[in-house]
């Protein structure tokens, strides 16, 4: 039997970055907010402590902080004609769980999109003509411009205390920063992290080729920093245990460090952990979500929580699942191109890299931070001329290890066997003398890459699993091939003792090796309710009190790690809710 609870002003589903930001902004506006988190209440003071937080096997390999696939996963197939099978063990991507979500175990790369990324379709069409976009490439403009989002990028960067160097301050280009970025009103809140040896080598090589190297925009605080919430981050220890780990120094920005201590102290906010949201109660005639049903996984008891406003702050797959199972919006049909929910699922063309080995240089890969490299953006987005290349988009390119943890990081020169005496010798010889140059490529939408409900497999609550139909496409392979050439040029300019062959994305999408936890799309934002799921304020077209957060609103994926954009959009949407929606609840955009 479902127990119906007393109505609250707002409920947020999932208490990670976006759930925390929305809950904080709505409570500040005077609303009572309930946060439903499927996992445990995890806070750094109790959970991320030395020595246990430095357990490479537990966190990096056995996936301590990630979603329990036994309970929920997705199925995958390469094309609509195939049978999808479940991802039985996480590999390619690693969604988080517990309070703070993936915001606790990310690396901290904090980007803004390029101004051209915000209006991709029209930008490409204007520069290269309509024919540059193949029919099956369903890319779109994002309905919020760079200039509109700029103050919200700034707000999220201040929340996180991002360390970096501006390359475009109010239109003035600055050497040493990313000169390709859009104009920023303010410098980063903190100076860049201390450059590593690998970063030095990259900086020199990139400059010798005429490129524009800059330090990673990093939510690993270079200095002790107090954010506008009055919460303090510690300084990064360069411990080399960042991605997949919690931060014991409180230097990596996370909801747990940057917002939750303030939010949890606010009487207007109530956190319910072990609360797994099962479904949305949708009133189609009124175009409202009336309530959220969830299960307390400690008791098995089911509750219905009525709310005036519902915010979806789960990961991409659960945002899409909850909309599809509630029947909110039209499900996407790849055959007709109609419908929007599940459309334009995108990923990342990552896994492109090249190894460089230096007999006479000491790299000390274990002295590293999560977002610590030296990068170039010369081959990103539309920062270079694509005429005649046969593809659009690009990649950020980075050098510098994020760690020297030996279970997963021990580079050996190409041709080395995987085991035995020769392998051991090479492993010992090169461990401290090597690093990789990597490229994270954009992934543009394709008509047959989408999410829907699996007809066969179910989760622990009995709901269908999300079915992913996905593969890399011609644009991706051509981009990867091109990046291989750039990586080779950079590697050669470093003058290494040995360099590998560039490893570029080939073959079908594979769920086994880790690539990136940058899954996007499925509830895309747009200007037309027929072709998008939410409007520019992330308000569902078909339920005006439902706001959908996170990268599921992206029409396509840029090369950039999504968190910076996701955080900015959360503030953007919260601003629209508190300044417009609360005064006059209803659609914020009239189609």
């Amino acid at each position: 039997m479902t127990i119906t609870l007393k109505e609250t002003d707002a409920v947020v589903v999932g208490v990670g970055w976006t759930g925390s930001i929305l809950a904080r902004e709505l409570t500040k506006a005077g609303l009572n907010v309930v946060g439903l988190e499927r996992g445990a209440k995890r806070m750094p003071r109790e959970n991320f402590t030395i020595p246990s937080v430095r357990d490479d096997l537990k966190y990096a390999v056995r996936q301590e902080l990630f979603q329990d696939t036994q309970l929920e996963t997705v199925t995958v197939r390469h094309s609509p004609g195939e049978t999808a099978l479940p991802i039985r063990r996480l590999g390619s991507f690693l969604p988080g769980t517990d309070l703070g979500g993936a915001g606790a175990h990310w690396n901290g790369m904090t980007w803004r999109w390029l101004p051209s990324d915000h209006k991709l379709r029209s930008h490409v069409t204007e520069r290269y003509g309509k024919s540059a976009i193949p029919d099956e490439m369903t890319i779109e403009d994002f309905p919020v411009s760079y200039d509109e989002l700029e103050p919200f990028y700034d707000k999220f960067e201040k929340l996180c205390g991002v360390s970096g160097k501006a390359g475009n301050l109010r239109g003035t280009k600055i050497d040493g920063g990313n000169v390709f970025e859009g104009p920023r009103q303010n410098e980063y809140p903190n100076p860049p992290l201390v450059r590593s040896m690998a970063g030095e080598i990259m900086d020199k090589a990139a400059r010798s080729l005429g490129y524009h190297p800059f330090p990673a925009p990093s939510s690993n605080a270079s200095e002790t920093y107090t954010n506008p919430e009055g919460l303090t981050l510690g300084a990064c220890e360069y411990c080399g245990h960042c991605e997949r780990f919690g931060c014991e120094a409180n230097a990596k920005a996370s909801p747990n460090v940057c917002i939750l201590p303030a939010l949890l102290a606010d009487q207007r906010f109530e956190l319910r952990d072990y609360a797994q949201v099962k479904e949305l109660v949708y009133d189609k005639a009124a175009r409202k979500v009336r309530a959220v049903r969830y299960v307390d996984t400690r008791t098995g008891e089911e509750y219905e929580q009525p709310a005036g406003i519902v915010v979806l702050g789960a990961y991409v797959f659960n945002n899409v699942l909850l909309m599809l199972t509630a029947g909110i919006g039209e499900p996407y049909d790849y055959r007709t191109g109609k419908g929007a929910v599940g459309k334009n699922y995108c990923y990342q063309v990552s896994g492109n890299g090249i190894g460089v080995f230096f007999a006479d240089k000491e790299i000390n890969p274990f002295m590293a931070a999560g977002a610590h490299g030296v990068l170039i953006d010369d081959f990103n987005g539309d920062n270079f001329d694509h005429s005649g290349l046969g593809f659009i988009g690009g990649a950020w390119i980075q050098a510098g290890p994020t760690n020297g943890r030996p279970i997963l990081t021990r580079p050996v020169p190409p041709g080395t066997p995987r085991w035995g005496r020769e392998w051991k010798q090479a492993t010992a010889k090169w461990y401290n003398h090597a690093f990789g140059i990597g490229a994270s490529g954009c992934n543009y939408a394709h008509r047959e890459n989408f999410l829907d409900l699996d007809p066969t497999y179910r989760d622990a609550l009995g709901r269908p699993l999300i079915r992913m139909s996905y593969n890399f496409r011609d644009n991706d392979y051509k981009l990867a091939q091109y990046l291989g050439g750039v990586l080779e040029r950079l590697a050669r300019a470093m003058n290494p003792t040995i360099m590998g062959k560039p490893n570029v994305k080939r073959g079908d999408y594979n769920v086994v090796p880790y690539q990136s936890t940058h899954n996007t799309g499925g509830t895309m934002s747009g200007t037309d309710p027929k072709t998008s799921a939410v409007n520019r304020y992330l308000q569902a077209w078909d339920a005006d009190n439902l706001f959908v957060m996170g990268a599921s609103v992206f029409p396509q994926n840029t090369s950039y790690n999504p968190t910076g954009v996701v955080g900015a959009l959360a503030y953007w949407s919260a601003h629209a809710i508190t300044t417009q929606y609360l005064k006059s609840p209803g659609p914020l955009v009239h189609a």
Partner: protein, 237 residues
């Protein structure tokens, strides 16, 4: 064959000591400078109580990890570093029993890119794989894998790795993949899990372990080797 009559665990102990002798022999042919303390002979291996594996399976794992990680001047052998113990304990852990993996059917054979699609938990998978490997070894060499000479073990593992060894109803390559992954985990993980005894692999690499706080060192040690006695979780507990 007399060795067939020796109880398996006693036989293994003997093999372990012989392995150490071989390693020492190798050391003597190396220049003195190469004889780093990392290669110090390990304490005589003690039989560890087994949690998941039986004696036959354990003998296979010992022979395999000693082939993948042979004793030399860089480190003791895989089993002398505790890697077989690590594998046994991991297979007995929640992970070995299938925790955090989706195990609802139907189970269908998929494409390799769809990942693992068997109903077997890691412990079941490894046991079935060891049985298949030994069966293949008996058919090919006339005896179980752990009773092969060192050069034949290398040959056999190469055949298994490449998928050239034809296992009955089992993927040799998939088995090797799991065996290799677990061996590397055991060799390089924190010693609390039973492998990497005496932090042998960390010494071999120059990985300093914990506490890993380098804010005060990263500038000073740019392009300079940082040498420190490696410390593990136990050293802080």
């Amino acid at each position: 064959m007399t060795e067939e009559t020796i109880p398996r665990r006693r036989f293994l102990l003997g093999a372990g000591i012989a392995g150490t002798a071989v390693a020492t022999g190798l050391n003597q042919t190396e220049p003195a400078a190469a004889q780093a303390p990392a290669a110090a002979a390990p304490a005589a291996p003690q039989p560890e109580p087994l949690l998941a594996l039986n004696e036959t399976e354990h003998a296979f794992v010992v022979a395999a990890v000693d082939t993948l990680i042979p004793a030399d001047e860089l480190s003791p052998s895989g089993s002398d570093c505790g890697v077989a113990t690590y594998i046994d304990r991991q297979l007995a852990s929640a992970w070995g029993g299938g925790a955090k993996s989706y195990r609802a059917g139907p189970f269908r054979k998929g494409k390799p890119e769809q990942g693992y699609q068997l109903a077997l938990t890691p412990v079941e998978f490894m046991k079935a794989g060891i049985a298949a490997a030994n069966e293949w070894s008996r058919k090919t060499y006339g005896r179980d894998f752990d009773r092969l000479a060192a050069d034949k073990r290398v040959e056999a593992l190469k055949a298994i790795e490449a998928g050239k060894a034809e296992f009955a109803n089992f993927s040799a390559r998939a088995f090797f993949g799991r065996l290799h992954a677990m061996t590397m985990e055991g060799f390089f993980s924190d010693p609390i899990y039973g492998g990497n005894r005496n932090k042998a692999s960390w010494r071999m690499l120059g990985f300093p372990g914990l506490p890993a706080t380098y804010a005060h060192l990263i500038d000073e040690y740019r392009d300079k080797r940082y040498v420190a006695e490696p410390r593990s979780i136990e050293d802080f507990s």
